[in-house]
Amino acid sequence: MPRAAPEDLNPDVFINCPFDDGYWPLFRAIVFAIHAAGYRSRCALEDDTNGELRLDRLKALIGACDRGVHDLSRVELSRKSRTPRFNMPFEFGVAVGASAFGGSRQKRKRALVLAGTREEWHPTVSDLSGIDPRYHENNPRLVIKAVRDFLGKTPDGRMLPGVTALWNAFQEFQKDLPRLAKEADHTLDEAHEYASYVTFVAAFLTARRG
């Protein structure tokens, strides 16, 4: 079957989401789905040592990625400070601004907006009423489906595996990761650190036979 022509977009996918304990199961599913589809995840957790200001790093990351996954489901009050968490809508705004006012490359940006539930979405960001988010209901399988549907095809234009195959591979990875970590002299916590986690994901995808 002839392959569809690949879009002229790069394979880097920016992830804009909360980095907290409650979100890790969804974050890990997003990273896995991106790599299992042949793309590369990028996020603020990478390369935290080069001394750039956080905002400069974010601008560079957002500018470098033609696609973005923006989860706006956790814009609630922080338990500690009792203030809303503005990071995710802010970073989404930077991406929208780049797309609106940037050069031709930036104008081709694609974004997937994730939200928890339909009920939570509408009152949260009324300026985004024209945008139709995907609702994940805090369910990693729904996140994988949303990412898969958003990416559509592999970077070289091939069909992607179905959501069940991706979910089964993710489940297998989750089950095997403690043993893989042990084989590589890592604790599970160390294996879950972003740079290690993406390395384990990529190694798992190429080493297993599915």
Partner: protein, 57 residues
């Protein structure tokens, strides 16, 4: 007709040889190298490769 440089051709061959693929649900996917790989990435890759090789044996 432009002559292909030997260097470019060798580079492409080397790239193709080092490309790594996954098979998920019968679909072959070219797996991209992570941008932010762990410092001990070669050790992790080797440990994971050995783990699945041993499981298949």
């Amino acid at each position: 007709m432009k002559k292909k440089s030997k260097g470019a051709s060798a580079g492409n061959a080397s790239k193709a040889a080092s490309a790594r693929y996954a098979t998920i649900g019968g679909v072959k996917i070219k797996v991209a190298n992570p941008v932010s790989a762990a410092k001990r990435a070669p050790e992790i890759r080797e440990a994971v490769r050995s783990f699945y090789a041993a499981r298949r044996a």
